[in-house]
C-alpha cells in the first residue's frame, strides 16, 4: 500500500471511534475505500499500520497511516480544510472543543463498557458516572443547535456515534437518557438529520444485539 494514492479506512462496523472518522470523511466529501477488519483475527495490514495500539480505526492516506480517532478527525479537518470546517478558527474555541472531545473520550466509552460488563455496585457506579457526564455535556451544549454552534463540529463528531449506543446503555443500566438529558437526545435527533450521521450510525437495536454477543463472550449474564 505504500506509495498508493487514495484514502483507505481500516475499521469495524459498529465501532463508535471508526464512525467518527466515517462521519468526518463524509462531511468533507472525501472518497475512500472502507476495509472491514476482523478484530478477533487481526490482519497483517492492521498490525503493520497500527503496531502501537493494534486497533481500528486507521486512516491510510497515500500509504501513510494515521491512528487514534480524534487525531484522525483533526487530520482530516486540517488536510481537507476547504470544506465544512469541524474545528472553529478561533484558538480559544478550538481549545474548548478539544477539551470536550477529550472529556468524551475519557468518560463515555469507559462508563458505557462498565455498564454492560459489570453487575451490582459496579454497574450502579458506572450508571451514575455516565449520567453525570451526559449532564455536563448537556450543560456545554446549552441551547445551541450543535456543540459547534450553528455548524456541526468536532465535539458533535466525537459524541454522536454514542447516540446509537444509548439504547444498549439504557437497557443494561435501567435508566432513560431522555429523562435524564432531554437536550442531548434532541441534539442527537438533529444530528441524525445529517446524511453523514444517518448513513453511518447503526440501528440502536442492532448495537444492543452486538452488546449481548459481547456479554455472552465475556460471561456476563
Amino acid at each position: 500500500m505504500a506509495g498508493e494514492k487514495g484514502v483507505v479506512l481500516l475499521d469495524f462496523w459498529v465501532s463508535p471511534f471508526g464512525q467518527r472518522v466515517r462521519i468526518a470523511l463524509q462531511e468533507k466529501c472525501v472518497e475512500y475505500e472502507y476495509k472491514e477488519q476482523d478484530l478477533a483475527n487481526k490482519s497483517e495490514l492492521l498490525l503493520k499500520y497500527n503496531p502501537v495500539h493494534k486497533k481500528i480505526p486507521v486512516l491510510v492516506h497515500d500509504g501513510k497511516p494515521v491512528c487514534e480517532s480524534l487525531v484522525i478527525v483533526q487530520y482530516i479537518d486540517e488536510f481537507w480544510s476547504h470544506k465544512s470546517p469541524l474545528l472553529p478558527s478561533d484558538p480559544y474555541c478550538r481549545a474548548n472543543a478539544r477539551f470536550w472531545a477529550d472529556f468524551i473520550d475519557k468518560k463515555i466509552y469507559d462508563c458505557g463498557t462498565r455498564l454492560w460488563k459489570l453487575k451490582g455496585e459496579g454497574k450502579e457506579e458506572a450508571k451514575k458516572e455516565m449520567i453525570e457526564a451526559l449532564k455536563l455535556l448537556e450543560g456545554e451544549l446549552g441551547e445551541k443547535k450543535y456543540f459547534g454552534g450553528e455548524s456541526f463540529g468536532f465535539v458533535d463528531v466525537a459524541l454522536v456515534p454514542f447516540v446509537s449506543w444509548f439504547y444498549a446503555y439504557e437497557t443494561c443500566g435501567n435508566f432513560s437518557v431522555e429523562k435524564e438529558c432531554p437536550k442531548i437526545v434532541a441534539w442527537g435527533k438533529r444530528c441524525m438529520e445529517r446524511e453523514s450521521v444517518s448513513k453511518t450510525l447503526e440501528d440502536p437495536k442492532k448495537v444492543y444485539e452486538f452488546v449481548l454477543v459481547l456479554k455472552k463472550r465475556f460471561g456476563v449474564e
Binding site: V66, C67, V71, Y75, E78, Y92, R94, F99
Partner: protein
C-alpha cells in the same frame, strides 16, 4: 482571539504544570504563576476547572483552558514564536499529536501499573512499559536527532521529558532497573539532553529535587495500607467490640480515606 493577562494555576511538583510552564517560557510569554495547594484547592481553580478540578489551568484574559495537551496546543496556536508542533504539515502534526497521546494514555499508564503493583504483576507491568518505551527508543534511533523535534524541543519532548524523573525515583526506591542503558541507549541520551536544555533548566526544578519529591510520594504509595473490610472485621474481633474500639475503628477509616485522596492528587 483572546488577549489580556496570562495566568497559570499550577503545582511545583506537577509535571503536567511543568509542561505548560516550559511551553510559555519557550515562547517568551509573560505570565503570572499561581501555586496551588493540591490538598486545599483555591476557589479560583475550582471555578476555572469545575469538570476535573485539577492543575494546570491556563487563564488567558478571563478565559480558562484545562488539560495539559489542550493547553499546549492552544499556547502554540496563539503565540507563534518557537513552534512546538510542525507548522503547515497536517500529517506531521498528526504524528506529534499521536505520540503525545501515546505517552499519556499508554506509556504512563503502564508505568502507573508498575508502581502500584508488586511481584509477578509488577514484572508484567514493567514488561509492558518496556514494549511501549521501545517505540520511542526506535523513533529516536531512526530520527537520529538530539530531540524528537530535531535540534530544538517540540511538544513530544515536552510531554515525555516533564515527569521523566519518576523513572529514576522508581528505580531508587524499588531497586529495580527500569530503563537499562543497553536496551534504551537513545532514550537515556535524549533524556540527558532534555534535562540539560537551557530553557528546561530555567523552568523545571532540579532533577535531584524532583526525584526526591517523587520518591516521597512513591514511598507513601508503598506504605499506604488499605483497611479492607476483612481487616476491619479483625480489628473489631481483637478489641472485642467496645466503645473505645469503635472510636479507633472510625479513626482508621478516616485515615484510610484521607491518605487515599492525598496520594491520588500527587501521582503520575
Amino acid at each position: 482571539m483572546k488577549s489580556g493577562t496570562v495566568k497559570l494555576h499550577g503545582s511545583w511538583g506537577s509535571f503536567y504544570s511543568h509542561r505548560v510552564q516550559l511551553a510559555l517560557h519557550l515562547k517568551g510569554v509573560k505570565y503570572e504563576y499561581i501555586e496551588e495547594d493540591l490538598e486545599n484547592k483555591s476557589p479560583s481553580l475550582l471555578s476555572y476547572n469545575p469538570v476535573h478540578k485539577k492543575v494546570p489551568v491556563l487563564v488567558h484574559g478571563d478565559c480558562p483552558i484545562a488539560e495539559s495537551l489542550v493547553i499546549l496546543q492552544y499556547v502554540d496556536e496563539v503565540w507563534k514564536a518557537n513552534p512546538i508542533m510542525p507548522v503547515d504539515d497536517p500529517y506531521e502534526r498528526a504524528m506529534v499529536s499521536f505520540w503525545c497521546h501515546f505517552v499519556d494514555d499508554k506509556l504512563r499508564k503502564s508505568f502507573r501499573s508498575a508502581i502500584r503493583s508488586s511481584g509477578e504483576g509488577q514484572a508484567e507491568a514493567i514488561e509492558e512499559f518496556h514494549q511501549n518505551l521501545m517505540f520511542l527508543e526506535k523513533k529516536l534511533a531512526v530520527n537520529g536527532t538530539k530531540f524528537f523535534g530535531g535540534e530544538k524541543i517540540d511538544m513530544l519532548d515536552i510531554v515525555m521529558g516533564c515527569g521523566s524523573h519518576w523513572f529514576k525515583a522508581f528505580e531508587e526506591v524499588s531497586g529495580v532497573k527500569l530503563i537499562d542503558p543497553n536496551s534504551f541507549p537513545h532514550f537515556i541520551t535524549w533524556n540527558q539532553s532534555f534535562l540539560e536544555f537551557e530553557q528546561v533548566k530555567e523552568v523545571i526544578p532540579p532533577a535531584a529535587k524532583m526525584i526526591d519529591y517523587a520518591k516521597s510520594i512513591y514511598k507513601n504509595i508503598l506504605g499506604h495500607v488499605h483497611f479492607s473490610s476483612e481487616v476491619i472485621a479483625l480489628i473489631l474481633q481483637v478489641f472485642k467490640w467496645n466503645p473505645k474500639s469503635r472510636c479507633l475503628l472510625s479513626a482508621f477509616q478516616e485515615l484510610d480515606s484521607k491518605s487515599s485522596s492525598k496520594v491520588k492528587a500527587q501521582c503520575p
